[in-house]
Every structure is written in C-alpha cells, then in structure tokens.
Amino acid sequence: MAEKAILFDATRCTACRGCQVACKQWNENDEEIPTVENGVQSKNWGSYENPPDLSPSTWLKIEFREVERMGGVDWLFTRRACMHCTDAACVRVCPNGSLYHHELGFVAYNKDTCTGCGYCIDACPFDVPRSDRNLLTGSAKMDKCTLCTTPGLDRIAEGWQPMCVKTCPPKALQFDNRSTLVSEGMQRVNTLKSKGYTNAYLYGANELGGLHVMYVLDDSAEAYGLPADPQVSGSTIAWQNVIQPLGWALGGLTLLGLGLNYLVARQTKVEQEQPVEKED
C-alpha cells in the first residue's frame, strides 16, 4: 500500500490549537483543567503555549517561538508530535515489538503489551514519547500520537483523515499519499524561496529515512526548534547492532563449550574408572 503522511505547512498555521483539542477529544485524552477547584494550581509561565509540554494525554502540541528576522519579529509555530520516522529509534529499541510500523508507514504501538521500560523515551531523537512512571515500582505505559490508528478509534482504517488534519481551519495540515505530499511540499518551498525566504526547507523528506510528518518551513529547522540533523543515537546502534548479537554469540559459545566439556570429561571419567588404567 502506498505510504501515507501528514504535511504541516508552518507558514499557514495560525496556532489556533484546534488540532490539540480535536486530538484530545477523538483519542479520549481528557486532562484535568488546572483550576483551584480541581486541585491543580494553574500557573502563568510567560507563554501562550498551553499545556506546557507533551504528556501521556497530550499527544500533540503547538509551540510558539518569537524570532527576529528580515527587519522585524516573527512568530513561528511548530507542531510537536510523533514524526513517524521510517528509521524509528523507538521501534529499534522496543524489547518486545510493542512499537512497530503500521502498513502505511506510521509508528504504531500496542499499549497492552508495553513493558514500560522507557527505552523509546530515551532513544527518540524528537523527545516525543511520554509515560506516567511510578518511580518506586517502575511501572509505566508509554503513550504518543498513533496517527489516529488506535484500535477502536482507528480513523485511517475507515478512510477518514486524522483528527488534527480534519479540524485544521487554515488547512495547514494535509493528509495524503506521502509521495504526493513530498512534491506538494517541494512546490510550496520553491514558492517561499521565490518570495525571499531563502532558508525555506521541506523538513522530513529525507530525515531518518523519511518522516511521515513533514514540515514546510520558511526558515531553518533550528529556528523552528527542530533538530537540524536528527539521528538514531550511536548508543542505540551500538547496543542493538553490536552488544545484543555479541551477547547471543557469547552465551551460545559458552553453552556449546560446556556441552563439549561435558562429553569429553564424562568419557575421561569412564576410562579412568576402569581398574586396569595406570595409577593416580
């Protein structure tokens, strides 16, 4: 099946945060509204951003950045959520395959089998997965954007758009075949360049084997708070591709060696127990 993707055009986003609300509503990720009556003190931390960070029940969040450029101040909006990488570090490190690639290319997960190890949280180059961890017992469950493929709430299987795309008033979000969106994004970037945005860039076309959430940016990735060159970390690769196979090899060789020793030593014992053999 053709891979699907989301294209986020940052230059069209008005930061209405309708996507955040729709995401929570569809995925049943209600959060207690911070009021004194709810026992949660709300706090002004000097930003229009709300809530302050992604969380197990906030899978999508719009970030606000003020930058000085072209002789003025611009307000840049970044969509923070799972980027659905092709070369996904979280899928590499998940010990039991709870995180996996959906047939359309997204990174989906089975929450029932999640062990709560948190390796995905440590490995993600975009710092996206979240969990509520009991620090004493270590029990946890990971959560992140499923691109609306959560079983029972699967919009994609129904042929519908993801909820955030569906609700976006300025059409800053599109959902389509990935290849279609790559060419559309390229076109849009070229238009921006011709308008003087020389740093304009289609983020995600090639990063990490191609992301399934791509960004049309009118400035560098850093200006939008995105890693310029996201990579699967060296420790992830050393651990998964070197240490673990080495562990299997060493463990196997040890058992093989001991088995061999057993056969030879048993034979030795049988021979030496025969009375005719030489003394001591």
Binding site: T115, A140, L250
Partner: protein, 209 residues
C-alpha cells in the same frame, strides 16, 4: 569416616544462597527482555517489579553480612585482587584438567583457585557496574538525560552478558561437571574432605593444618 575440614562458615553460606537466589531472579527477569520471543512476559511492568524486589535482597544481603563479618570480607576481597604467576600456570593447565582430569601441571592453590578468584573478582566488579547503572535507571529515570540512560542500559547489558556466561560456567563446574565432586558440598554443608582440600587447595590445606 574421612576427616573433614571447614571451608565456608555458616554466615558465608547463607549469604551465598540468598545472594544467588536473588541473582537467579534478577537474571531471569532480565533475560526475558533480552529474548524477543519471551519478552511478552514483561508486559505491564510486572517483571520490573519482581526485578526490583530481588535487587533489594541482592544489595541488602552483602550490606548486612559485611559489618558482621568484616575480617573475612576483607580477606576475601584481598584474595580476589591478589594474582601471581601461579594463576597463569593454573589457567594454562586448566583445560587438560577439566577435560582429561590431568592434575599434574596444576599448581597448588590457596583458599580459592584461580577460576574461583576470577568468578569472585567478576562478582565484585560486575556487581558494582550492575549496581551503579541500575540505580541510575531506577532513581533517575525522569531526571537523567535520555543519552545517559541509554548508556546505562548498554552497560547493564554488557555486565549481564558477562555475568550470564560466567554464571553458566559457575553452575556447570559446581553441579554438573562429571569430574567435580565436593565443591557443592562445601557451600551446602560447609565442609569438604581433607583429601579434597589437599588435592584442590594444597596451599590452603597446609595453612590450616
């Protein structure tokens, strides 16, 4: 009845079995997330909770033992780090001994032979690696940066592989090897026959007799 000599005192034996029992639980609960086919058993963090209960025992046992048995602890640690030319000879002669029961080239050994020293040294060194990396993963899972935690998992894994392989050898030599008798006895009843002590730990036997 053959003459017997005491090899491990009762507190040492209790420490050994509590510690090894905890180790087996830690090893198995770790092993299942190493084997993709079994790691489904780790779902809902159940094995992590078992792992944590076991590690409390694993760390508490020596911490209780050490102040009560300070002298023998210091002696044991000294022994683990005292290596000489006899140890090299032992390692060279060991294959002929363990395969062919040829004891001729084996140099006389102290209270611990070179193999036991190697195991004991590993217990001390890898124990420290397990403890430090594990503690960071337990207590600083939210506070430490992801990159640090990833290296902790990697080091924990390296220690796991080394300890696992040596654990197989340890079990094999003490329980399964067709030619080894008496060493299991030394950890269950605390005693070995004088004859065993003489042939396996000649230097030590001379010291105590």
């Amino acid at each position: 009845m053959a003459q017997e000599v005491e090899r491990y005192r009762k507190p040492t034996r209790i420490l050994h079995w509590v510690h090894s029992g905890a180790f087996v639980v830690l090893f198995l609960t770790g092993l299942i997330i190493f084997i993709p086919g079994l790691s489904i058993l780790a779902q809902d963090s159940i094995t992590r909770i078992i792992h944590r209960i076991a590690v409390v025992l694993f760390v508490a046992a020596p911490l209780i033992y050490i102040p009560m048995n300070l002298k023998s602890t210091m002696r044991g640690i000294k022994e683990a780090f005292t290596w000489g030319s006899g140890d090299l000879e032992w390692l060279k002669a060991a294959p002929r001994y363990y395969f062919l029961n040829d004891e001729e080239a084996m140099p006389p050994q102290g209270h611990m032979n070179t193999g036991q020293k190697l195991w004991w040294l590993m217990v001390l060194v890898l124990g420290a690696v397990f403890f430090i990396t594990g503690l960071i993963m337990w207590a600083f899972k939210e506070a430490a940066p992801g990159a640090v935690l990833e290296w902790m998992v990697l080091l924990h894994d390296v220690a796991f592989i080394a300890a696992g392989c040596m654990f197989f050898v340890h079990i094999y030599l003490s329980v399964i090897h067709p030619l080894m008798k008496g060493s299991l006895n030394s950890m269950t009843k605390g005693k070995v026959s004088a004859e065993y002590a003489k042939s396996h730990h000649g230097k030590w036997y001379r010291e105590i007799s």
